[in-house]
């Protein structure tokens, strides 16, 4: 009787351990598969939208509206940016903080992206160095931002995505900024890794169909 009970309990414990390990595998690797597919889909939809007409200036939640190119992450590294930073949106790719500036505008073009799992778009955010280009591609223009600072902040410090980074949430912008936020350290949400940049310049796609020279840097 006791033997059966002990055996049953130990089998249960081993099973629970195996399920937990499988959950880790799911979070770290399997979610990548789902997210890569979702990212491919929103990217393809955006390219199609751009060829068929003028896109909506105010994208819906979960809808892609721009591409972000980060040469430091790899020569062809690019991700479609979707509107919104809720879990459903971030599963598709880096998400744009609702209400923050749009690419090239005065204010803070702010993005959040997962660090580990779900496509891991911002896994390597910590390798960005001051001066590195981050090129944002919209339907008609290329916006080249340059990285200025990298900081690690507490999750409560939402002023990093304010119109002027570090300023008031409803303050006036003092320039055109870029902010990218992700989890820090890896596999944890204890803090946030925050990379700021400033707009260096914008070029129209008619002037540079293949993109600015900054794409070839690093």
């Amino acid at each position: 009787m006791i033997r059966t009970l002990v055996r049953g309990l130990s089998e249960l414990a081993v099973t629970a351990g195996a399920v937990l390990l499988l959950f880790v595998v799911y979070e770290v690797w399997v979610t990548d598969l789902f997210s890569d597919r979702a990212q491919d889909q929103v990217a393809e939809e955006l390219r199609e939208d751009w060829t068929t007409g003028t896109p909506d200036p105010e994208p819906d939640l979960g809808q892609a509206f721009a591409f972000v190119h980060v040469p430091r992450f790899g020569a062809d590294w690019t991700r479609a940016v979707v509107e919104g930073t809720d879990p459903d949106e971030l599963e598709e790719g880096p998400g744009h903080y609702v209400g923050s500036a749009m690419p090239g505008e005065q204010g803070n073009f702010a993005l959040a992206g997962h660090r580990v799992g779900r496509g891991s778009p911002f896994l390597a955010l910590d390798v960005l160095r001051p001066g590195d280009p981050v090129v944002v591609e919209t339907v008609d223009a290329w916006h080249v931002y340059r990285v200025t600072t990298t900081t690690v902040v507490d999750p409560s410090e939402s002023s990093v995505v304010a119109p002027t980074p570090g300023g008031a949430a409803n303050g006036e912008p003092t320039g055109a900024f870029l902010t990218m936020t992700t989890c820090h350290p890896k596999f944890s949400t204890r803090e946030r890794l925050v990379v700021h940049g400033e707009l260096e310049g914008s070029t129209s796609k008619t002037a540079a169909p293949d993109g600015p020279a900054a794409l070839e840097e690093v």
């Binding site: 049953g8 089998e11 249960l12 399920v19 499988l22 959950f23 799911y26 979070e27 399997v30 979610t31 789902f34 930073t85 879990p87 459903d88 971030l90 998400g95 903080y97 959040a112 992206g113 997962h114 660090r115 580990v116 799992g117 779900r118 911002f122 902040v153 999750p155 409560s156 410090e157 939402s158 990093v160 995505v161 936020t181 992700t182 989890c183 949400t189 946030r192």
Partner: protein
Amino acid sequence: MYSWIWHHLPGPLPVRGTTALVLVLAVVALLLFVVFPVASSHLELWTPSL
């Protein structure tokens, strides 16, 4: 639990082995594609925004 299942699987050893493997794979698939996605969206383990 596992020995009970094993003893109740029908057929000779190779058939039982195959059935057991299929059962394990079915449970893994159920976890990966149904249970974990739902659990994960409720847990909200990773929040890269602030």
